[in-house]
């Protein structure tokens, strides 16, 4: 199993998709910088300072930039990346005609399936750590760090103006890499389920993404308010609770368990399908 995991990591690192996943996130950070810069310029009549927001001279700093960047990326760009990563794992092998060859090795299907899942989970975590560190570094170099000021409204984190000290805020970013990965495991498992259900990696990634976008959009439309508790995308939002000055432990653990529930359900279903599947390619 360990040898297989090592080989999968080697394959992953050598693949174009691996490099592309990081490049996409770098491009997103550049876009965020551009957006923040033009917004500040527009709002301050060309002074290119963000200080008038919230009438707080220290509001806009590298930490708030990183938080917004992470939050926006979590809405679509990271889910797209994760859907493609997960969706290509089994279906990609099937499409390339290497799945049958892989299964001729003395390794059970369940171990192969879980080995690939483990490597993808690791990839997601590394990707998230890279993204957070990149944002923090860019923030530090461009505007510097400071305390993280939170206001009611835009990020929906607090009910009254609050502040996290710089050290505490950095620790919360570290927590966010773990909660973010846990949250994204739901989507990764769904992508794996699709990956064993379809032979084509594009179809698998497309189906995963379609379900994600559908639930995300429906979860934001009042017509579906009664259906909202059943959308896994709502539970996936728990990752950012770690940025609340006081983490709501009950709510946090509730969402953590719900994400775990969906993750395992998708994974188990995918495994059952994979074990029973007639591999023809």
């Amino acid at each position: 199993m360990l040898t297989f995991v090592r080989q999968e990591i080697f394959k992953l690192v050598k693949s174009k998709l691996f490099a592309l996943s990081f490049l996409v996130l770098i491009a997103f950070v550049i876009l965020m910088l551009w957006g923040f810069y033009t917004y500040s310029k527009h709002k301050t009549g060309g002074q290119t300072e963000f200080k008038y927001t919230y009438e707080n001279a220290s509001y806009f700093n590298g930490l708030i930039f990183s938080l917004y960047s992470l939050y926006f990326a979590f809405q679509i760009i990271i889910p797209i990346t994760v859907s493609i990563l997960g969706g290509t794992q089994i279906a990609g092998e099937a499409r390339a005609g290497t799945l049958r060859f892989l299964l001729t090795r003395p390794l059970s299907r369940s171990r192969l399936f879980l080995g690939k899942y483990l490597v993808t989970a690791l990839h997601v975590y590394v990707l998230l750590v890279f993204f957070v560190v990149l944002n923090l570094l860019v923030g530090l170099l461009v505007v510097g760090w400071g305390d993280l000021s939170l206001y009611p409204g835009p990020l929906n984190l607090v009910k009254e103006p609050s502040r996290l000290q710089e050290d505490e805020a950095l620790l919360r970013f570290l927590y966010a890499t773990v909660t973010g990965t846990w949250s994204l495991m739901t989507l990764t498992s769904l992508a794996f389920l699709m990956s064993v259900s379809f032979e084509n990696p594009i179809v698998a990634a497309f189906c995963t993404l379609s379900i994600y976008v559908l639930f995300s959009v429906m979860g934001r439309v009042d017509f579906f308010v009664d259906l909202k508790p059943y959308f896994f995308t709502v539970d996936m939002e728990f990752w950012r609770d770690v940025f609340k000055p006081v983490i709501p432990i009950n709510e946090f653990l509730y969402r953590t368990c719900r994400c775990g529930m969906y993750t395992v359900a998708f994974l188990l279903t995918g495994l059952i399908i994979f074990e029973r599947k007639d591999i023809l390619t």
Binding site: Y151, E160, E251, R258
Partner: protein
């Protein structure tokens, strides 16, 4: 097979965990504490209609219903928004009998709807005319007895469609409270239209969000938001009517949204606040 059993076990563990930590299950419901201490009570209600109606101001045929809700609440002061004209005020006062003999009306330069304050207690009133906001607010000052205390209530109705104007109103109110002498116990009550959380976790950064967040944060520098736990004040599941208090002498006994009292095509629910003098 072992792996599948392990995953099934893990699934059940997460299901049990989700059940155990479910905030709805563990939420304790405590009834509001009632008191016989002398105090002050207030009801704020935007009695207008949905915006898709031809006339979204208060409708005269609803006034008897509005009067019955007011009578049922038995409060000292009522802040109404979106009253169409002074005839409606006269009709309402007539329907309420002699219980609310005092009234004040705020008009405004760019609006066809007004704020009206009705009171059981006599008051001194002042019309606040924030420039660029377009709508007047009305401030009334009461003297309640035993122990004697002066309370100022401001009836506000912020623009529903322009977050910049809402922000300007918040600025104006803070400046006004700064300027004026003798306003130690101030209650801001009305339809502020500050839309901070339309749907949990659905908001990205917008100028409207930023303006509302700034306005709300500004108000919280001086005031406490009392209706945070009271729930949505609009039939569209939004909390846009607020009660803000700046006072060391008033203690909140109860703040709640009165359910099931809308008629016609009204879209706001009445918000009730009861306070006792410390």
């Amino acid at each position: 097979m072992d792996v599948k059993f392990f995953l099934a076990g893990l699934f059940l563990t997460f299901v049990c965990g989700a059940w155990y930590f479910d905030p709805e299950r563990t939420k304790a419901v405590s009834p509001p504490a009632l008191t016989d201490s002398p105090g002050f009570s207030l009801l704020t209600w935007n009695v207008g209609y949905f915006d898709d109606e031809l006339d979204s101001r208060a409708h005269s045929e609803d006034l008897s219903h509005i009067a019955s809700v007011i009578s049922g609440a038995g409060v000292d002061c009522i802040n109404l928004q979106e009253i169409a004209d002074s005839n409606q005020v006269s009709t309402l006062k007539g329907l309420l009998g002699a219980r609310y003999p005092y009234d004040a009306m705020g008009k405004g330069s760019r609006t066809d709807r007004y704020v009206v304050t009705l009171s059981r207690l006599p008051f001194e009133n002042e019309t606040l005319t924030p420039s660029l906001v377009g709508r007047d607010s009305v401030a009334v000052r009461f003297d309640v007895s035993s122990p004697p205390l002066s309370i100022t209530v401001v009836n506000c109705h912020a623009d529903a469609f322009n977050s910049r104007r809402r922000r300007l109103l918040a600025n104006y109110l803070i400046d006004w409270e700064d300027r004026a002498e003798g306003k130690k116990n101030v209650l801001l009550a009305g339809d502020f239209n500050l839309d901070l959380t339309p749907i949990e976790s659905s908001d990205l950064f917008t100028d409207d969000k930023k303006n509302d967040s700034e306005a709300y944060s500004l108000l919280l520098r001086r005031f406490r938001d009392l209706g945070g736990q009271a729930g949505p004040t609009s039939i569209f599941n939004r909390r846009i009517d607020y009660l803000f208090l700046a006072s060391e002498n008033l203690e909140t006994v109860e703040v709640r949204v009165i359910q099931g009292k809308v008629v016609g095509r009204m879209d706001h629910l009445p918000l009730l606040g009861r306070f006792k003098v410390k």
